[in-house]
Point group: C2
Chain length 350, copies 2
């Protein structure tokens, strides 16, 4: 008889299909809003987290990264890749999965797909930051880069910030057409633009979300005007930026975790001591966010481990009531913890 | 209709049960020997690997670590915890799982349990090092610490090094009794010892494998004599060592990856510039291993990411012919890679 694993040895696994079922049950925009609240709650207790820049493995084709963090009770990490050339080969640019574990025992308690979840948490982080930095009257958002992240951003900003119009531009018109089609029926007014200059016209918020792994300038200085909020999410590794340096020099810059953003964010183009404000300090009321209607605010977002932690904890809490998942036999659990050898040998067929 | 994930979106998962089935099919000692060859082959191409000290999250109860590496073609990482207090609570001290991925696309190609596999790869690394460092005539091994790793070490040294006698000691006689019972029928002469001093008497090789997360001295200076090889595997994090400092000063010390071993190994008790030899250089013939029969050699082993990489690749190769596994729907794979949103929405029930 083959011994069966105990409950302790099982780890709940949320597959892509399970995640899509959960997202559709809650609703895409609602889940982005929920995760934004979760992320904000964790930013409010920022000092409690173990923080480290993510650990990258760079190659010619892209990067694979591990993003760990812990709040002392729960540990989490995400595995994520970024391969700009994948799209042309029919693969996702970004795929991801994540794990939560108990700090006291080290045992994993959740394994989850995070390709879909990262799309939601990235939009959630953007709207959470915009809640503190964008003009309160913002109704129009320009979106430069209409790839896999675009619609999640649009619906998140509609739900949480009150955006009613998105102005789309992508160097590939097929991407814009795809996004516009997906946003039909959302209630958003969708304007397809032929140039980036056209897209930013009249925009209160500019979201840049392109994927080239090279220095690119998707926004030039003349395209940014007084009072705008820039949500820059496409620049996220060394050598990958989206904004002209002059824009940075005119903006008040807000970042997630400076030691990581200095390496990966738009501010890699600036001096290493150029002043930036940590977003968590704004959220805690320790630093000013937007103070004036003519100020240009820039959220130089690269994605940080605590945001994935927040999203994973949200998913974990949904498992009992809303979630579909599968238990994986991932942890060896001998009756006598010292007798791993005996467990292996007893599993042999007679 | 719910769309089904494509083959590209599936990742083979080797559960604990699958791993035990594989180990028993190949045989425990044979699999340790196979993995030792695999690890040695990767040590021979050491400069090809991206190497970094593992990334730890320390807590009062233990540590959770991520151990990534890449050979430029394949990326791998292991999640592993070390919680010395777990045993008393009925949990494993060490549990682990690991992942392999393609560097060119960033897509995972294997998820595997590694609690069992780590036990095998740790023994495999020890015997691989001993092949280069232990006296050729070694027949007797002292084993101090008779926990979960003990029997794997014993069988590995029997198979690869030709050990015929093991002398066991543990501060808990129940652990020694467990190991002795498990080694019945192995062909090894097993001697249960009442003290560590007794265990090392006449031993050619001393393996220390205890788990306390504190400075411990399981070997004192008078217990080590000329010509012995010490296989020290229990000290593996800051503040966790097993050997008296004077032993280190009399030994020629061999390590896996100095930047990690300086932090975690026995040599944390020495000056940061104390000379050590990198094991890969011995294996490549660039540095001497054992040169004289009276020399004391010390393998200050903490476990390195390439060893897990080698073990995971071995398992991955077995999947086609020998392995049982399950495909996991872990990677989102929309028809149009930019249309993640559309994929999620199309999965909604009508």
């Amino acid at each position: 008889m083959i011994p069966q694993p105990s409950a302790m040895a099982m780890v709940p696994f949320v597959s892509v299909q399970d995640m899509m079922t959960l997202v559709n049950k809650i609703g895409i925009a609602q889940m982005i809003a929920d995760i934004a609240d979760e992320i904000e709650a964790d930013y409010r207790r920022w000092p409690q987290f173990d923080k480290t820049p993510r650990v990258p493995a760079h190659s010619a084709e892209g990067v694979i990264e591990l993003m760990p963090t812990s709040d002392g009770e729960t540990y989490g990490f995400k595995y994520v890749n970024g391969h700009p050339a994948n799209m042309a080969r029919g693969f996702q640019t970004v795929t991801a999965f994540g794990v939560l574990a108990r700090v006291d025992t080290g045992y994993p308690i959740l394994l989850s797909e995070m390709t879909v979840l990262t799309a939601l948490r990235t939009a959630a982080t953007s709207v959470m930051a915009a809640r503190h930095l964008a003009p309160k009257t913002a109704r129009t958002m320009a979106m430069i880069g209409n790839g896999a992240q675009c619609e999640f951003q649009a619906l998140g900003f509609q739900k949480v910030i009150g955006i009613d119009t998105v102005r789309l531009f992508d160097i590939d018109p097929a991407a814009t057409a795809k996004a516009a089609k997906n946003l039909q029926g959302s209630g958003l007014t969708v304007v397809k633009c032929k140039t980036a200059e056209d897209a930013v016209t009249g925009a209160d918020i500019i979201t840049t979300c392109t994927a080239d792994k090279q220095y690119a300038t998707v926004l030039t200085d003349n395209m940014v005007g007084a009072g705008q909020h820039i949500n820059a999410i496409g620049g996220d590794c060394p050598g990958k930026t989206e904004l002209h340096r002059d824009i940075l020099l005119r903006s008040d810059i807000f970042v997630e975790y400076p030691p990581q953003t200095r390496i990966e964010g738009e501010i890699q183009a600036l001096d290493p001591d150029h002043p930036v404000t940590e977003l968590w300090q704004v959220i805690c009321g320790d630093a000013p966010g937007r103070t004036d209607s003519r100020q240009i605010t820039l959220f130089d977002s690269v994605g940080f481990a605590t945001e994935d932690f927040s999203a994973l904890r949200y998913v974990h809490r949904q498992l009992r009531d809303n979630g579909t998942y599968q238990d994986l036999d991932m942890i060896a659990d001998p009756d006598d913890p010292r007798d791993l050898f005996g467990m292996v040998r007893r599993a042999a067929p007679n």
